[in-house]
């Protein structure tokens, strides 16, 4: 059996370190030893195949039992590509977020902001053959956290992606353009490379916007590509 083609390692500065001192929760949780680099085998280059039959899609987060959630309805759409610009088809995209008031539908979230019985804040969509995904939701609110004095998380939606190889597994956060909290956020700013951080910010997009219905935001996601190989199929 030919060896699997390995996935490429991150360009310097484009991924955050485990030890991010300004983000307090990393202090006791980051390993002190450098993770051991191991050659990629089938355990890294294969991945679970998620199919809608077993993992039911849920692409409209704005209603529960037909009742509408409170807040500004938005559409989020984009493409999932690899580093060579090839679409990742059939990728499972999981999203979760706070409601319009900045409160998660989660027992641990004690922020004094109202819960919305018509907003659960969880969705699941799959990319099509061109790597495109789309879901409708409510624009989340900012919320305080206790990382430092007067700390507030910028408005964000959590994204989890499974690609074609386990080494492509990614959890990230999508932010919104013009958010004044972004320069103050230790999680967003943990990544050294400014261009890499900018790519976490969705763009307002009139083509995604639906007349008389909802503003649209575009958020494209790039998963790791494979190492170059002279035998690559055309």
């Amino acid at each position: 059996m030919p060896d699997p083609i390995p996935y490429r390692y991150a360009a310097v500065g484009t991924q955050p370190p485990y030890d991010a001192p300004a983000y307090g929760s990393t202090h006791k949780r980051h390993p002190k030893q450098v993770p051991l680099r191991v050659p990629h085998t089938l355990s890294e280059t294969t991945a679970p195949r998620f199919v809608p039959a077993w993992y039911a899609p849920h692409e409209d987060l704005t209603r529960v039992d037909g009742k509408e959630a409170v807040g500004e309805r938005i559409i989020v759409a984009g493409r999932v590509l690899d580093e060579d610009g090839r679409p990742v088809a059939g990728a499972m995209v999981e999203v979760w977020q706070a409601n319009a008031a900045g409160r998660y539908n989660h027992a641990r979230d004690q922020h004094d902001a109202p819960l919305d019985p018509n907003f659960r804040g969880q969705g699941r969509v799959f990319t099509d053959a061109e790597g495109k995904y789309r879901f409708t939701t409510i624009r989340p609110g900012a919320y305080p956290w206790r990382n430092h004095h007067n700390a507030w998380r910028p408005v964000h939606i959590h994204f989890g992606l499974h690609g074609a190889g386990a080494a492509q597994r990614l959890i990230t956060q999508m932010y919104f353009p013009g958010d004044p909290l972004l320069p103050l956020d230790p999680i967003f700013n943990a990544t050294p490379d400014a261009a890499a951080r900018e790519r976490l910010i969705a763009q307002f997009d009139l083509d995604v916007t639906q007349p008389e219905f909802a503003l649209g935001y575009r958020f494209d996601i790039v998963l790791r590509g494979r190492e170059a190989t002279p035998f690559e199929a055309a």
Binding site: Q15, A20, Y23, L42, S43, D109, H158, T172, A196
Partner: protein, 178 residues
């Protein structure tokens, strides 16, 4: 060409994508119902640099089926840690898996840990104590001998295997840069 999108922490509220049944890969209405093999239970506790349980982590596994193939058996599971930092999966014991250069990898399960305070998942492997192939496993052999125990689950009887994960400090788990 764009670099891969930057990882961000899963944070403390990832449970909105928690589906507890996914920790049982053999669930009756799941993709593996009826596949034959040796039923096992994988457990462990995750602790931080102070030895405090990590009670808000998401653990995902990826493994081959009993035949050592990644086709057929749906070797994916997800489990939340409990207040004691413990996770628990029910699955089938994987077979030996082809490695690079026609070498053989000992049976193993890939563990990925996501949590508040982890900007990116931590990845490690769970091997099985007493497996003859462990001695030749190409990944285990890259690990310094004195730290190898952090990757090897111990039998607890009746198909149960335990591997604790230490994120930081004494006995720190060997994490893999994959």
């Amino acid at each position: 060409m764009n670099a891969a999108t930057t990882s961000q922490t899963a944070g403390p509220y990832w449970h909105l994508i928690e589906f507890p049944e996914w920790a049982d890969l053999l669930r009756a209405d799941g993709p593996n119902a009826g596949i034959a093999g040796e039923r096992i239970m994988l457990t462990g506790r995750i602790t931080d640099g102070d030895g405090t349980p990590v009670s808000d982590a998401m653990v995902e596994i990826w493994q081959a089926g009993p035949d050592g193939s990644f086709e057929g058996f749906h070797g994916f599971g997800r489990c939340a840690t409990d207040p004691k930092g413990a996770f628990r999966f029910v699955t089938l014991k994987p077979g030996a898996v082809p490695g690079r250069g026609n070498r053989i990898q000992a049976p193993h399960v890939v563990l990925s840990i996501f949590a508040r305070g982890l900007m990116k998942q931590l990845v490690t492997r769970l091997y099985f104590a007493g497996e003859a192939l462990n001695a030749e496993d190409p990944v285990l052999n890259l690990v310094p001998l004195e730290r190898r125990f952090t990757l090897i689950a111990q039998p607890q009887g009746e198909g149960a295997w335990r591997l604790d994960v230490r994120l930081q400090g004494e006995g720190e788990t060997v994490f893999l840069d994959v």
